[in-house]
Symmetry: C2
Subunit: 380 residues, 2 copies
């Protein structure tokens, strides 16, 4: 990859709020503060602050969505989509991405220091919801002086946050692009998350969350991540990538990894634990399981909203199947919302939204352009 | 369930072979003996021994396929299919089911005593394959004086064994009924097995397999089983059974099981570890991953066989998708084999083959009848 073609070097910034007695009230009723959000911005905010796009990340993402940081071998997690002349065109738009509340990449979460005890929160950290994540993002948007986002976009849990913006702050979001997502987790999605959590909690090193400064529950978290990886790919993409290829010529007749797919999963599990906090994994998956905007909660009855929707799903995505996206589209039509939807052909499964995909890029580019033009027309 | 309608009380029997220097040579080249097989039989063998059906079980099954044993609250694992006037009609056929080599339900496996050390084998037990399992079954069939099975049948790994009978002993098997199965594991199937094994091996109580007489790796095995259970059901059947139903009225905002599906998985994981050996789980899943009869190995080129095939797949089974069954059917047709195939509509996923299913029962009943009649005609 040529670094010159993209955003070049970027830096993570930090914003702290909910200080003193102004704590953030969470969905659970608990209060938390202060909260620091890690965030990055790309491009420039225009004079009337009408070109801001919020990008929301998935379970294991972070604020570093694009460009390179000092020492990076790979760019941010959605660099294929964000940059000059890319889908989220940073020559036109001001793109913001923040690490979610409860995360472990600079934003306050269970591994942060609890000011009451001067030790990491661990399970003293309150459970959070997608709505809480979005409330925290709203503080950041206010801080940046933005009254209305041109768009909130993201895949998987990022798509949930985009939908939550509509439910929580419809007047603050001109459009949303929820990708490969659902408005509620199905029991199968809850089940996969729960097994991941059980794998973490089954690790004796987890010690009810109090492992900071000690051995981490790496084996458990690696198993959780391996399960995740299977669900992010499709049967077909695994066949194309691995088939039954062996690491060596013959079966080992032992419990070492015989097949390339086994080696790959072990590698992905092991590398994940180096960069992610096990407790954050628990908190964030639980937030996804709690998420439920079905039954009219996405747009309350009688509420008139002008948010435009671009819904994207991928045909081989069996973790967030296209029917979940269609459910949302169906509802939006009953509310006479402005919605464009597309099911993109791809064999890459849930991972498809993260990969280079011309159709996705094209759809988003044109949707943003027409939304932006419309916004400018309205202001004239 | 009325016990009088079924087989009533049944008893597990045992057969020991490969004693002294006559050890069984395994696919790996290693030798093992003596071997004890646990098995049950239902119905009576007819005079010319032409009515014997071998039932092969799946990963977590055992020899107790039907009827009740002393103290049983539930009958054997395929009681819906085996008994008087059922699909495998014990008024007509002599039905045999044995626990697989490497198992933990009475057949020699890693938890058995190694005669060399007088301690459980643990990982000293050699790796076994589906072919080794079938070779052990062949000893039992010989012992019972049966030259040719009327049928070898089973679902999932049971179906692999049925196919292996064709590959290993085509002259000894008049027909086979491979259900919800594949002739080779795809990388996705290997991946799910591998994650299960990693979950077991991540449990410090596993101690490289040397946990006998000590704390068992129950947490790890429970996680493995939970992953399995998700793959045995379908998205739809989970939705129908659980939806997003909560155990209590509201979210707990803690890491206890909020959703019924979470409670169910935890329960199934916990109850499995009481009845299954973790090392057997490793050995048997590895045997399934090694299984590969593709590329002409099922019926060697130029080999003329008279085995009849009834291939059954279930439409909502995403663990052993119907396309894997179709691959086998396609191959069989190129070999001019006598094959009937059916994809049964069901929302129950992979579990469908274990559940009461009229269409499956009907297909099997008629297939067995016509095979049996044809066999009798040939002898006239």
């Amino acid at each position: 990859m040529n670094k010159k073609e993209g955003l070049g070097m970027v830096r993570t910034k930090f914003f702290t709020f909910a200080e003193g007695t102004n704590k953030l009230v969470l969905s659970s009723g608990q209060r938390i503060g202060p909260i620091t959000l890690a965030y990055e911005t790309y491009g420039s905010l225009d004079k009337d602050k009408s070109n801001a796009i919020l990008i929301a990340h998935a379970l294991s993402g972070d604020a570093h969505a694009a460009g390179f940081q000092e020492g990076d071998k790979k760019p941010g997690w959605w660099d294929v989509m964000i940059g000059p002349h890319k889908a989220f065109d940073t020559t036109k738009y001001f793109v913001i991405c923040s690490n979610v509340l409860g995360g472990c990449k600079g934003t306050t979460g269970p591994s942060s220091i609890n000011p009451k005890t001067n030790k990491p929160y661990a399970l003293e950290f309150p459970l959070i919801t997608v709505s809480d994540m979005v409330n925290a993002q709203k503080y950041l948007i206010d801080h940046l002086g933005i009254k209305k986002l041109l768009c909130a976009a993201g895949g998987s849990m990022g798509g949930m946050q985009a939908l939550q913006w509509v439910a929580s702050y419809p007047e603050c979001v001109r459009s949303v692009i929820p990708i490969a997502t659902a408005w509620k987790h199905s029991p199968q999605q809850i089940a996969f998350d729960e097994v991941g959590r059980q794998a973490v909690m089954a690790d004796p090193a987890w010690k009810k969350g109090n492992y900071y400064g000690d051995t981490k529950p790496e084996r458990g978290l690696a198993v959780a991540r391996m399960i995740g990886h299977i669900t992010y790919m499709s049967d077909q993409s695994m066949e194309e990538k691995f088939s039954r290829k062996l690491k060596d010529k013959n079966y080992s007749f032992s419990f070492t990894a015989d097949f390339e797919v086994e080696g790959y999963l072990r590698y992905r599990g092991d590398s994940f634990v180096k960069r992610f906090d096990a407790n954050s994994y628990l908190y964030i998956t639980k937030a996804m399981d709690y998420f439920d905007l079905s039954g009219g909660k996405l747009i309350l009855q009688g509420k008139d909203i002008d948010t435009r929707f671009l819904m994207i799903a991928f045909q081989s995505d069996w973790l967030y199947p296209a029917y979940q996206s269609r459910e949302i589209v169906h509802f939006l039509k009953t509310r006479f919302a402005n919605v464009t939807s597309c099911e993109i052909k791809s064999s890459y499964g849930h991972d498809a939204f993260l990969l280079e995909n011309d159709e996705q890029a094209h759809l988003i580019k044109h949707f943003l352009k027409s939304t932006h033009n419309q916004t400018k027309d309205e202001k004239r």
